[in-house]
């Protein structure tokens, strides 16, 4: 009986995928984001951004001679690797998606890549996974990301510090993957350019008092304190305790620490502190903002919406360039369409790009976030260098 049930289930599954595959002129793309969980407030806008690109391509009628692109959403939960893997498995086996826009958080992205995407040979482009560990992940050339690795941010921070003449720092990070990864990559980059990290210590979020942590950091000393934490968690507590004890006066603040709350809490007290946050100055960002506003996407000014649009667009353009919707065929084309040489393509110009590719031409997809894929297929990453002047976060330059 059990065997019979299994057999029935297997038959049903196979029938299902065969049925999905039989739609000749339809391309399905998976959109796996954490629609529930810690970043559920950000993901609807990200998904809408990706679907905007798909709708644009469908409307143009130029993909592979008029194929329609259909998004299929699935929930990555951001934190539960098991649930995310199951969701991705369903997309591929029963929905028959030809590529995946996602996932969002670094942990589940790695799990889906290793357990589903690589075994099934499906291309994945993540808009927001920033863990340096993904750079070295075994991916058979199937994994790309339009968000820069935090390793890149560590490099940028180290460069900024050197230019300012800050040669020794103490580092404290929030005790999780993000904080640890960022602290490690920064320490490595900083040491490589000749800086000294006097100590690296974790801090737990949500404590009332950080004077003991600051005492230890102060004992190690340094010209500045790198706080790789969150602006609405323990980060401000560390800064407050450092200022109170006179331990540090200059702070180095990566992306998690950059927020309006910094201005209201500290103002001019942390003048001269520096920070970095992902961002580009390209015209693409402005065009994307207008498209989002026109489409009426709620929360469209949130993070990673442009990256999501770019991720979906890259998959579709690579398909056109390869003349095939099979991941095995088009995976090699992703880097080609993303990078020079070729005609520069901004958001809203996907129809033009499809036409050029159909004619055998070359494109350089710039998109909303000035996409430039390096290394094993991740965004080079533009960062905005920030300095606190007169109690305000001011942009110094883009790098």
């Amino acid at each position: 009986m059990k065997k019979f049930l299994m057999a029935t289930a297997a038959t049903a599954l196979m029938a299902g995928s065969a049925f999905a595959g039989s739609h000749g002129n339809e391309v399905k793309l998976g959109v796996i984001l954490g629609f529930t969980g810690p970043i559920e407030s950000l993901t609807p806008a990200m998904a809408a951004g990706a679907e905007l690109a798909m709708a644009e391509v469908s409307a143009s009628g130029k993909l592979m001679g008029g194929a329609k692109v259909t998004p299929v959403r699935a929930d990555s939960t951001c934190v539960d690797a098991g649930a995310a893997t199951a969701a991705a498995e369903r997309l591929i086996t029963s929905e028959g998606v030809k590529g995946i826009m996602g996932a969002d958080c670094s942990g589940v992205t790695g799990a889906i890549l290793a357990n589903v995407a690589v075994p099934n040979g499906v291309v994945m482009i993540s808009p927001s996974a920033t863990s340096p560990a993904l750079t070295a992940a075994e991916d058979n050339g199937l994994f790309f990301r339009t968000a820069p690795s935090d390793a890149r941010q560590g490099q940028v921070l180290a460069d900024v510090l050197m230019e300012k003449g800050i040669k020794s720092v103490a580092v404290t990070y929030t005790n999780n993957d993000y904080g640890k990864g960022l602290a490690d990559s920064f320490a490595a980059a900083y040491a490589a350019v000749g800086g000294t990290v006097t100590t690296t210590a974790a801090h737990e979020d949500g404590k009332a008092d950080y004077s003991a942590e600051v005492g230890a950091l102060a004992a190690a000393g340094g010209d500045a304190l790198v706080v790789a934490g969150y602006v609405d968690q323990g980060g401000p507590g560390i800064i407050r305790a450092s200022l109170d004890a006179g331990a540090f006066e200059t702070f180095v603040l990566p992306d998690g620490m950059i927020g309006g709350a910094l201005e209201t809490t500290f103002g001019a007290e942390i003048n001269g502190s520096i920070g970095t946050v992902p961002g580009t100055e390209s015209e693409g960002a402005t065009m994307m903002a207008k498209m989002i506003a026109d489409a009426g996407i709620a929360g469209g000014d949130g993070p990673y919406v442009g990256e999501s649009y770019d991720a979906a667009a890259l998959i579709l353009l690579a398909m056109q360039a390869a003349g095939s919707t099979e991941p095995g065929d088009y995976k090699a084309k992703v880097m080609d369409v993303a990078n020079a040489p070729g005609e520069k393509i901004y958001p809203g110009e996907l129809a033009k790009a499809l036409e050029i590719l159909a004619g055998g031409g070359d494109i350089d997809y710039v998109g909303a976030t000035a996409v430039e894929l390096i290394g094993p297929g991740e965004a080079a990453g533009g960062y905005r260098e920030i300095e606190i002047k007169d109690g305000k976060l001011t942009t110094v330059k883009y790098r």
Binding site: G206, A208, A212, E213, A219, A245, G246
Partner: protein
């Protein structure tokens, strides 16, 4: 050798914070020890009683601030303190009427009362979160520093700064005043003496005409005042977050037990013992040793016995050692 700089560093990062923290623990432990001495049970709800009192103080402080009432260089919260104490007293009296009186009449065993107090703890805990939310709230205002590191350096021309926060000053002064008042009350007034008599021998006290319900009510009033004061001082000095008050229960109990449960003097001593142990064991001594050692020498490591994450483990370890070797505590409290 540079004794002055070594001392300044030590004072800035160890002595001043530990004295302030010790005072806060001492006032909290006094409340626990009073309940243990007079009502004869360990009140697990004490941390959340502190949180409730502080929450009222925070809310009233915001109200005063919105009306433009300020206390100049002092925090407005001091003005709101009486309201907080009154509200907290009302809460503990209602709790006593509704919950503890029943078990007192049954002459329930202390361990049952402990479990009951845990139930009360969860309810108070939720009440506070329900009203003000689980997030961190800041309500300190007025002058932040009596002496700031930057000013100190400019004044003396030394390399090391010394910070004394206004809240730290207020904490120590308030602690001295509160403790003096409490001891005067317990030792000199008739009511205080009747409380001590009730604590020493309940039956004899009843025979000599002491009204037990009156003693209980006065005890709760004092405990509410102590809890609110301790909570407000901690919140001003650090920050107010319901969960951290729940966590404070461990060091507070450790202080009371180390000093000797039921002994007010012991509670104060215990508070400082715990505070100094927590701070000194988790402090990185590198800088101090570098100043003390020969010129140009400094230790390679941070010379930190335990990472700061193990702060609570220190309280726990001391608690264990005391319970194993001297269960009545340093100052001969009641045997646990």
């Amino acid at each position: 050798m540079d004794l002055l700089h070594a001392f300044l560093t030590l004072a800035n990062f160890v002595l001043v914070p530990a004295i302030a923290y010790g005072s806060q623990l001492a006032i909290g432990a006094l409340g626990v020890t009073l309940i243990y001495g007079i009502l004869r049970f360990s009140n697990f709800a004490h941390g959340d009683t502190m949180a409730f009192g502080t929450m009222v103080v925070v809310l009233v402080t915001w109200w005063f601030q919105s009306m433009g009432i300020h206390l100049g260089p002092l925090p407005t919260a001091l003005l709101a303190l009486p309201v907080g104490i009154a509200a907290c007293a009302a809460l503990v009296l209602v709790t006593d009427r509704a919950v503890y009186r029943f078990y007192r009449a049954q002459k329930a065993k202390p361990v049952i009362l402990v479990i009951v107090s845990m139930g009360v703890m969860f309810i108070m805990n939720s009440l506070v979160r329900f009203i003000i939310g689980p997030d961190e709230q800041r309500f300190a205002d007025g002058e932040r520093f009596i002496l700031s590191a930057r000013d100190f350096k400019a004044m003396t021309g030394l390399d090391e700064g010394l910070t004394i926060k206004t809240t730290q000053g207020i904490t120590v002064i308030t602690a001295v005043v509160v403790v003096a008042a409490l001891f005067w009350f317990l030792n000199k007034t008739r009511t205080g003496k009747s409380m001590r008599a009730y604590s020493d021998n309940e039956d004899l006290a009843l025979l000599s005409g002491i009204n037990p319900e009156r003693v209980v009510v006065i005890t709760w009033l004092i405990v509410a005042a102590l809890a609110t004061v301790a909570g407000t001082l901690y919140g001003l000095d650090k920050s107010f977050k319901p969960f951290t008050y729940f966590q404070l229960l461990l060091p507070i109990f450790a202080s009371a037990i180390v000093g000797g449960l039921g002994n007010p003097l012991g509670a104060i001593a215990g508070g400082f013992v715990i505070a100094f142990s927590e701070v000194t064991v988790t402090y990185a001594w590198k800088k101090v040793l570098a100043y003390l050692g020969p010129e140009g020498w400094s230790p390679d490591g941070l010379v930190q016995l335990l990472s700061t994450d193990y702060k609570f483990a220190v309280s726990f370890a001391i608690l264990l050692v005391v319970l194993l070797f001297k269960p009545t505590g340093l100052f001969k409290g009641k045997s646990v």
